[in-house]
Amino acid sequence: MEITAAPMPDTRHVAHHFDDAEQQFVAAELGMWVFLATEVLFFGGVFCGYAIYRFKYAAEFIAGSHRLDVWLGTVNTAVLLTSSLTMALAVHAAQTSRRGALVRNLLLTLLLGAAFLGVKGYEYHHKFEERLVPGRNFRFVAHSAHVPESLQPAKEEKVDPRQVELFFSLYFAMTGLHALHMIIGIGVLAVLIVAAGRGAFSGGYFTPIEMTGLYWHFVDIVWVFLFPLLYLIR
């Protein structure tokens, strides 16, 4: 393999208050990690609520979870993990100054993210039809035609529909917040794709691509926790 010298930093992007490109990059990277730490705490609050309610109302949470479509959830997990791969490839393409590969991978990431949201929207729609959206119209029947017999709660087990509603509140709050983060990420990607197409990034300057990559991976990791907690509890 041919060893090439690291590309010279592109000094046009160094803001007046930084000494050099390296200082600026280190600052951006640290800033992004601190931001992600705040995001962990932000999601942490609602994860904490989930943990407490699931501990208190295990049967209801399982009954609620059975109403989620595991297959769609699995497909979405695969879609999102693939988008993380294309995002990583985009960062690598930027670092190695390959404009075509960069635009292509960013576009793929955006499309996979949009596909995820499409599936999520379909799931939301389905829950709406099943009257599983919390609120005035929520109606949970323990023995529903939508659920295979093997996953029905045992006859003697009492499942309180009010706490199933609590499960769905958390389901919509958590996946909704996650989806909001996806939408923001897709917006950022769209801006980056336009900029990348114009040749704004190179091995000398790829900070926005790398930072967006960190954000995108973070949003994926949140889903990696949401998927088993919401879909796979038995």
Binding site: H16, G31, V46, G49, K56, S169
Partner: protein, 542 residues
């Protein structure tokens, strides 16, 4: 009187257009924007306090009905906590001074800094909008299920205002952390940093780790109230204690967001006006971090009577005792710094000494409250009100005013009138104690907080408190007047009127837009005062 202009180009006269302020990315100008904004919020919150102190002059509710009273103290709490105290020192003095203290030309993310001001103002407009629309009556604590289900007031808009303003706090904290890590001048090692910077580093940690939790909590309240999806509603099996835990997980550390920056200010002022090195520099630096860390583990002491488990209560009680240790270390070290120093009593020093005394009283009564049995007795009484006002007003506001006076010549290039400064510092100290000391007694005798009527036995102490509040109000108006006066008529200040150490005093007053002509190189420890040297401290004026 002739008005003298500045000879040099600086951040104030660089551009006079209105636009140049609204689109500025200069940390110093953003600090001024924050200062103007939070001053307005301070007087909005203060006006509410005037009204309910008037109401409390008599045992019966003859000025307001209960509903109005509830809205007044909610307004006071929300505005003072989220829109004055939390941004006060970090967003004004921190923003202005932090880059200069570390020899940088700006914060790491100047545009983010401006964005955080706009976000703050958006949150403020929402909160004020909620107030104009009739206000909320939940108290600043937004306890569920009252806030989420039962009250008929504007909780959604108020909570969203706090939610939005929270992001400004997060972004400020993030900016500070990155700036301190990556932008220190050559030679400025961590243990050469001014203690003001250490205090802001610890504060920023709390801002970025605590604020997101209150954000999600208030968002859940808004979702429950606005969309009707059950989360905390006990009817549906929801847990109001969950709300309280999440709320206090932020809101107790938020107390340290208010007090830690103030402690940083006090370290600077005490060293300068005692002309002495700070005693135990590393102890003060690390005690800031210790407060930030332990402060995250004490929130349950707000919930001793809420029904949380007794064992949890005992642990939280113990941790609360523990967090007093680093605070005490600071008080002892400031006192030791005064020892054998050449102490002079200019206005900032008066505020600093006031801070030390009042903070000590607030801290010690905090230990009473951290004791389970005493807390059960005085819970939700005026004892608690008095305690936290000693910390937040006696501590945080005193520190803020001390800092504003100390750095006023740097920020504006003008000296404030010293005689008026000392006078108002004295008035504020007297007014403050007259307002809040009787409340310790009232609380211990059993007067509950947040109630607009009381039994007649409590009237004398309440009248004392209201009288003190009016003195305190005058004390706050005098600096407002003379500081504005000094902008035009104050004598020009030299670069370093106090003869203080620190890089911010090596720039001109007011500083140029990029602070330093060339990046300073640091070769010494902070606070290299020659003990006993006094003549520099008396040449304030150019």
């Amino acid at each position: 009187m002739t008005v003298q202009g500045f000879a040099h180009r600086n951040y104030l006269n660089a551009d006079y257009r209105f636009r140049s302020w609204l689109w500025t990315t200069d940390h110093k100008r953003i600090a001024i924007l924050y200062m103007i904004s939070i001053t307005m919020f301070f007087f909005v919150g203060g006006a509410a306090a005037v009204l309910f102190r008037l109401e409390l002059m008599t045992p019966r509710g003859d000025l307001t009905i209960a509903e109005t009273y509830n809205r007044l103290f909610t307004l006071h709490g929300v505005i003072m906590v989220f829109f004055f105290l939390i941004p006060s020192i970090p967003a004004v003095l921190g923003n202005f001074l932090l880059p200069m203290m570390i020899g940088a030309r700006d914060l790491a993310f100047p545009r983010l800094n401006l964005a955080s001001w706009y976000i703050f103002m958006l949150g403020g407009v929402m909160a004020v909008g909620a107030i104009i629309a009739g206000g909320a009556d939940t108290g600043w604590t937004f306890y569920t299920p009252y806030s989420s289900t039962y009250t008929n007031t504007n909780v959604i808009l108020m909570a969203l205002g706090v939610f939005v303003a929270g992001f400004s706090s997060i972004l400020t904290g993030l900016n500070f952390i990155v700036t301190i890590h990556t932008m220190r001048a050559p030679g400025l090692t961590w243990f050469r940093l001014p203690l003001f910077v250490w205090a802001h580093y610890a504060t920023s940690l709390i801002m970025v780790l605590g604020t997101p939790v209150i954000a999600i909590t208030l968002l859940l309240v808004v979702l429950e109230r606005g969309l009707g999806i059950p989360i905390f509603d006990p009817k549906m099996g929801g847990d109001p204690l969950l709300f309280q835990h999440l709320f206090w997980f932020y809101s107790h550390p938020a107390v340290y967001i208010m007090i830690l920056p103030s402690m940083g200010v006090i370290s600077e002022i005490v060293a300068c006006f005692a002309r002495n090195r700070v005693f135990g520099y590393k102890f003060i630096a690390f005690s800031s971090l210790a407060i930030a860390v332990i402060g995250f583990l004490v929130w349950g002491h707000h919930m001793f009577v809420s029904g949380q488990s007794v064992y949890a209560g005992m642990v939280f009680s113990f941790m609360s005792m523990l967090v007093a240790v680093p605070s005490a270390i600071k008080v002892f070290n400031w006192t030791a710094t005064l020892h054998k120093g050449a102490v002079s009593l200019e206005t900032p020093m008066l505020y600093a000494l006031g801070f030390i005394g009042l903070f000590t009283l607030g801290g010690l009564t905090g230990l009473f409250l951290a004791t389970l049995a005493i807390d059960v007795h005085v819970h939700d009484t005026y004892f608690v009100v008095a305690h936290f006002h000693y910390i937040m007003v006696g501590g945080a506001v005193m520190g803020y005013l001390g800092g504003i006076h100390f750095w006023w010549p740097k920020m504006t290039g003008r000296m404030y009138p010293e005689w008026w400064g000392r006078l108002s510092a004295g008035i504020i100290f007297i007014g403050f104690n007259l307002t809040f000391f009787p409340q310790f007694v009232l609380g211990y005798l059993g007067m509950p907080r947040r109630v607009h009527e009381y039994v007649e036995e409590f009237q004398v102490l309440n009248v004392m408190s209201s009288a003190g509040a009016s003195i305190l109000g005058v004390g706050y108006l005098i600096p407002l007047a003379y500081l504005i006066w000094s902008l035009r008529y104050g004598p020009l200040a030299s670069a370093n009127p106090w003869g203080a150490t620190g890089l911010e005093w090596q720039t001109e007053s007011p500083p140029t837009t990029f602070n330093f002509d060339k990046t300073p190189v640091v070769r010494e420890e902070a606070y290299h005062y020659d003990t006993g040297l006094t003549e520099a401290s008396h040449s304030h004026v150019l």
